[in-house]
Subunit: 197 residues, 2 copies
């Protein structure tokens, strides 16, 4: 749209994610140049060892239907110790079935834990007809029990290294949006879009 | 092949599965009419709520590459109580990361358990250019600890209702191949192939 805003579509079935991203988007000056849309298109979600492969396959499976710039974001929660990265790519399914309680049971009395949240954005950028990848990661440990009211998913049991006494659910949304894996990935997307206006 | 054996391809990356199926195949008289091949083609494996969707997508993603009759088999282990069907479609990944020990930890002291193994075969049958589905299921409970030397995957913790004192790993392979989810599905495949020689 010459002189107007460019359209960019965030393809996700998760309204929590869209709201989180929409907030990040609106706080930058990107919203003067781009209009962010929520797309309900259903991309093909493959089983894979890593989020990047899942995200790239997803965006390839839908980009031709929109024929405009669009992106997907995939996030995962990895308990590197003592669970070998579980639940990783399948975090959503694991949360739905065994939940935070399940993760805590699996860890049991293990005192040494090491975990991270990871976010991968795959952007199809129409002006150059290319797929670009942006990653964000936040490291931390696992709490002994669920704590806090904010957030969703595995937030109530994750203690980020930057605030080691608080779970992601005890941190205000404002602060979480500054340090989270998702915001890091979106900041990189933001930088890319600004440099390619 | 007129007068000779027809070719049929089992597409799987799991040699255990191929061996199990090959044995079933060889014991029937199907091996006089069909020659079973192991194919290393890599089908697209999607994330889905059920095995049928995974298997159908898989066979559709490769059938045109072979242009002969071919099938995939997907199996899952579902702890219906108390784990809401976990690990289900993602059994392979869950076994690789948290294993049987993980499942036992999740169940903890829960005395009432209910589980099943499920197998879904998706066959692309060239003579009629159609995809056919064959299912098998075996119900049981979860053992208090891992037991037995045979089998693989979650066999060491599964007590089938037909032999409630033995895990799948304590039952001889010969007997397991008579009662297993996989053999039930393959018996149905066998019946179909015999009726459509």
């Amino acid at each position: 749209m010459k002189g107007g805003k460019k359209y960019i579509h965030f393809i996700t079935g998760n309204i929590h994610k869209f709201n989180e991203v929409s907030e990040i988007f609106n706080k930058s000056n990107l919203n003067q140049k781009y209009k962010l849309f929520h797309s309900n298109l259903e991309p093909i979600e493959i089983q894979a060892d890593n989020l990047r492969d899942v995200a790239v396959f997803k965006i390839k499976s839908v980009k031709n239907k929109l024929n405009e710039s669009c992106f997907v974001e995939d996030a995962g929660f990895f308990v590197d110790e003592p669970l070998n990265g579980f639940p990783g790519v399948y975090s959503a399914y694991v949360h739905k079935t065994i939940g935070n309680e399940g993760i805590l049971k699996l860890i049991g009395e293990e005192s040494k834990t090491c975990a991270h949240f990871e976010s991968v954005i795959a952007l199809y950028f129409k002006p150059i007809n290319e797929i670009k990848i942006f990653k964000g990661e936040v490291s931390g440990k696992i709490a002994k029990k669920m704590r806090g009211n904010h957030g969703f998913g595995f937030d109530p049991i994750f203690l980020p290294d930057t605030f080691p006494d608080k779970t992601f659910s005890e941190i205000s949304i404002e602060i979480k949006n500054k340090i989270s894996h998702r915001s890091q990935a979106f900041n990189k997307l933001e930088d890319f879009l600004k440099q390619n206006l």
